[in-house]
Symmetry: C2
Subunit: 435 residues, 2 copies
């Protein structure tokens, strides 16, 4: 028996003295999810939108998504939750609390995927959240707070469901046709939402006790170090800049080398500058040129224009801005050198969303109680949790992704890691309810 | 009267002693084209495929091309030429010669354009070739050699007509569907060719006395220096390499900077190496990365693959190969440094086509006779002339392109330069016929 175990024993004993009900509930720190079941549910979920080459294409609002949502709502009902679709299209499963006037504890994730995505991404957190409810039902746990399990709709294309939940979806956005020509409103209707009444899905700041999300890391840090749980310090801010470099398109055969205004050369230098500047200061910030379009793009034409994206992420907005200032200054100098021009537009600047220190402490305690290894880390990826952080204390739990591969058919989180994550979620929800 | 003028006077006088016909023909060095007419024909030709924003889209085999071809054939007939369409689809206008057994003198260009091209490109040489025939008809010139005026079909997408003329079109190429899904054979049929009998268009080596082509420079050297005529030393060889750099696509937020295998970084360095290596040796060689595709190409994904083209051009194949050897070696080193791989395929390697020194000397003499300024230069662009060089002595005459702009609605060759070019063509054809 470890010292911690001894403390738990004492706690249980003390609780036992308080009375029968408390005695039965008092051993809750020893409660564990059914690991086989949660992993089985993950396997069953992977049928919806399954691709022949592995993984799923379960893009939000498609038939695969709609069928998977019905499956998840069924599991919620089997777990004793009252499952309903809110006006944005989120599935919210409710378990009433015993103590009037307490705020709900909210936890969950999403089950939509990117095209040709994997079977773990938001699925692990979603199936685990339902598993937590199922475990509590089987234990006949009498939660003080209402418990709300959320399956957010359309996480992948812009956190649609969680933004609706915090009141951050504008009518204009609902009406505007998407890339496929279909307005978001029509899609929300397709999954049982009611876009005319989307305001009713909104939750004001202070109306939720806390939000907890379990998710796969989507990076390789935990897997590489052999650490079982990541305790998320926050979700990084993301600044996305659209940069346009203009030179002059001309014949690649007849234009001498010293008469060119080659936008591709300036763009190539800028790509290298982004990497160099981001690496030049200590920290875990990242910077990426992920999209780069060359115009006109023919082998025998000197590129006249290059459009590229620069994406910078960090937990500190100040650091992002200072990196961009340096990149932009160097970029202007490069553009001049090549007889080109550089212009940019900041497409978006998501602020970082820090997790709540109190919630983080409860996760640390839950991890310790389970005897798991852990480390604090930023989330480099965006999550619904960043929206919820605007209205309530937020915490996130990461489990390892093998080789850090994500958004890919070969994405993998091992069964034991899924079970570990679900147990940390269970123990964190219980601690939240008890405090 | 200049010293050259005096020599011409003497020549004319001597010729005059030889008899009446020779006397009338003997003043041929003073003959000039009708500059107003050839420029008027250029303007009329620009109706076919005219774009609202200027220039033309007269892509080969389109309705605009077909109508422009009918217009050109009409002009040929007005110039006394016997205009026929050969089995490849070239329009060949013939003027019989007086001396049996002499080989034909061939001259011409093309009237098809790139999409959104200009009004000068191949049009200047085509209208001037017909103008030369018209001038000779008006002078009742009794040419010794047969004169063949060619409007080559489909220059822009691969020198189709001139390749057919030298027997370099394979049956497989005729059958294969193009990018638009239509086989070349069907297109050739559309313009009056007979793809089943394409072999009949073939001309063996030694069957043509010489080929002369007048064309706009498509570069800015003549315009910048204020020189009136370019005497083409040859058409550069073109090597085109398709390069693929493979790294590993991963999440741009969750993958630390030191865990990336970013294909875009390696590609950026390679782009700069191409430029540096090509500039590192003296000469007029050029090298260009004109197409570069980033996969998957999303702002939030580290590029896993970049496909790019490297195009190298020079009059010397040896120089091209030595440049590529250096670029490839540096590329491999770069690829290793970024944890990526680099593979390439040489898509094509067109050999350079040198102009004939004898023909070049006649052009130099014609230019001098016209009192025009000139300089020798390579052609960085491909032309039908490079095919003809395989079967006969070839010469090319360049006129200035304002600001070197080409394949663009704002392409411009001034009327006086068009007239100058047509006169040099006339005088060169006459010299060829007289020698």
């Amino acid at each position: 028996m470890s010292p911690l175990g001894r403390r738990e024993f004492l706690h249980t004993t003390v609780a036992a003295l308080a009375g029968g009900m408390a005695f039965r509930q008092g051993d809750w720190k020893t409660w564990r999810v059914n690991g086989a079941r949660v992993n089985q549910h993950l396997t069953e979920l992977s049928r919806f939108g399954a691709n022949p080459q592995g993984g799923v294409s379960r893009v939000a609002f498609t038939q695969a998504d709609i069928e998977a949502r019905a499956f998840a709502a069924d599991l919620m009902r089997q777990a004793g939750l009252d499952a309903r679709i809110d006006t944005v299209g989120n599935i919210i499963g409710t378990r009433a609390g015993t103590q009037p006037g307490t705020l709900p504890i909210l936890f969950g994730s999403h089950i939509d995927s990117v095209p040709e995505g994997g079977n773990y991404d938001g699925d692990v957190g979603s199936m685990s959240a339902i598993e937590v409810a199922q475990t509590l039902a089987e234990r006949s746990y009498r939660n003080r707070h209402p418990l709300h399990v959320a399956i957010w709709c359309d996480e992948e294309s812009g956190l649609t469901g969680s933004r609706g939940y915090i009141g951050d979806l504008r009518a204009e956005e609902l009406r505007r046709p998407g890339r496929d020509g279909v307005p978001l409103a029509d899609k929300i209707r397709r999954i049982g939402g009611d876009p005319e009444r989307v305001a009713e899905a909104r939750h004001a700041a202070g109306s939720v006790a806390a939000y907890i999300e379990l998710h796969i890391e989507q990076g390789g840090i935990l897997d590489e170090k052999g650490i079982e749980i990541g305790i998320v310090e926050g979700i990084v801010g993301i600044h996305h800049y659209d940069v346009t470099i203009k030179g002059f398109a001309n014949h690649a055969g007849t234009t001498p080398m010293d008469r060119r205004r080659n936008a591709m050369l300036a763009a190539a230098e800028l790509v290298l500058v982004v990497d160099r500047v981001v690496r030049s200061v200590p920290g875990r910030q990242v910077g990426t040129v992920g999209r780069l379009l060359v115009k006109p793009g023919a082998p025998n034409v000197i590129p006249g224009q290059v459009d590229l994206t620069v994406e910078l992420r960090d937990l500190s907005t100040e650091k992002i801005e200072s990196l961009w200032t340096r990149i932009h200054a160097e970029g202007q100098e490069i553009a001049r050198r090549y007889g080109t021009t550089l212009a940019y537009e900041r497409q978006h600047a998501n602020p970082p969303a820090l997790s709540d220190p109190g919630v983080r402490a409860l996760i640390v305690d839950a991890v310790a109680g389970l005897g798991l290894s852990s480390q604090p880390m930023p989330s480099g990826a965006g999550h619904d949790a960043q929206d919820l952080a605007q209205i309530c204390p937020m915490g996130m739990i990461f489990v390892p992704s093998v080789k850090g591969i994500s958004h890919s058919p070969v994405e993998l989180t091992r069964a034991q890691d899924v079970t570990n994550g679900a147990n940390v979620l269970l123990q964190t929800v219980l601690r939240l309810d008890q405090t």
